[in-house]
């Protein structure tokens, strides 16, 4: 398991490092994730204090439902973070990570809201 994970957006304006191990990611099929990502929402998470984020002035936040915000690069639109207000945890997208991630999707969630343009996997 990796002791440090690095990643960032497509244009490089926002970069991050996460110290310590990360739990297996989940893939979210909810309509909000699919509208936002144009893809599934694939996230792992860690306590926010373990992140070092550079280029924060390029990081934009959108409150997608009360108490939930999604972070993206205002320059290139890359989806990076998801956070519940008041939580000390910060979710991060797997697609933004430098490889190897050392992680594999462990579960699929919100399958009841899956898109009609693909066959959802079994849980």
């Amino acid at each position: 398991m990796k002791r440090k994970t690095a990643g960032g957006c497509l244009c490089g304006a926002v970069r991050y490092e996460i110290a310590g191990p990360l739990p297996p990611p989940s893939a979210c099929h909810c309509v909000q994730c699919r509208r936002h990502h144009g893809a599934l929402g694939v996230y792992t998470l860690a306590p926010e204090e373990r992140y070092t984020i550079t280029g924060k002035r390029n990081l934009a936040w959108y409150e997608s439902s009360p108490g939930i915000r999604r972070g993206f690069c205002r320059n290139c639109g890359s989806k990076l973070f998801w956070q519940r207000s008041g939580s000390d945890q910060l979710d991060v997208t797997l697609g933004s990570m430098d490889e190897p991630t050392g992680l594999k999707i462990e579960k699929h969630i919100y399958l009841a809201d899956a898109g009609d343009y693909y066959d959802p996997p079994s849980r």
Partner: protein, 142 residues
């Protein structure tokens, strides 16, 4: 008399916050999942794209649409308010790829293949049995 403006509505869609909405009056291509490194970074996961002729796409809230030139040949369109990924446009083609996730149900679309599988992320497997191409089709947005 021929009514040239009467193409039937094929699909509607919007970004997550609703600042940008779209209507498509014309055919939509089958859905293709792209696994290239650029798509993974920008979407956060491999995106599902359909495609249409630009002339068949009507946008509202276009002032909120931001473009990022991701290569000499193509640019990516996203909502500047909520960050939703909407478009991938091969410049000068008259065509645009549209993220299937932004479309309202029912889409009447189906996923037919995976492209750029040679670059796919290491955090998932492709297990749906659909066609896999190591790189692109000749013209992804045809």
């Amino acid at each position: 008399m021929v009514d040239e403006g009467a193409k039937p509505l094929r699909a509607t869609g919007r970004c997550l916050c609703g600042a940008i909405t779209l209507e498509i009056r014309g055919p939509l291509r089958d859905v293709v999942v792209c696994h290239c490194g650029q798509c993974l970074r920008q979407h956060g996961a491999p995106p599902s794209y359909t495609a249409a002729a630009w002339n068949d796409v009507k946008l509202s809230g276009e002032k909120n649409l931001k473009w990022f030139q991701s290569s000499p040949e193509a640019r990516r369109g996203f909502c500047g308010v909520c960050g939703s990924s909407l478009f991938w446009e091969p410049m000068g083609s008259g065509r645009v790829s549209i993220a299937a996730g932004c479309l309202d149900k029912p889409t009447d679309l189906r996923t037919v293949r995976h492209i750029y599988v040679a670059d796919k992320g290491d955090f998932y497997e492709i297990k749906d049995g659909l066609e896999q191409l190591p790189h692109s089709m000749r013209a992804v947005a045809r």
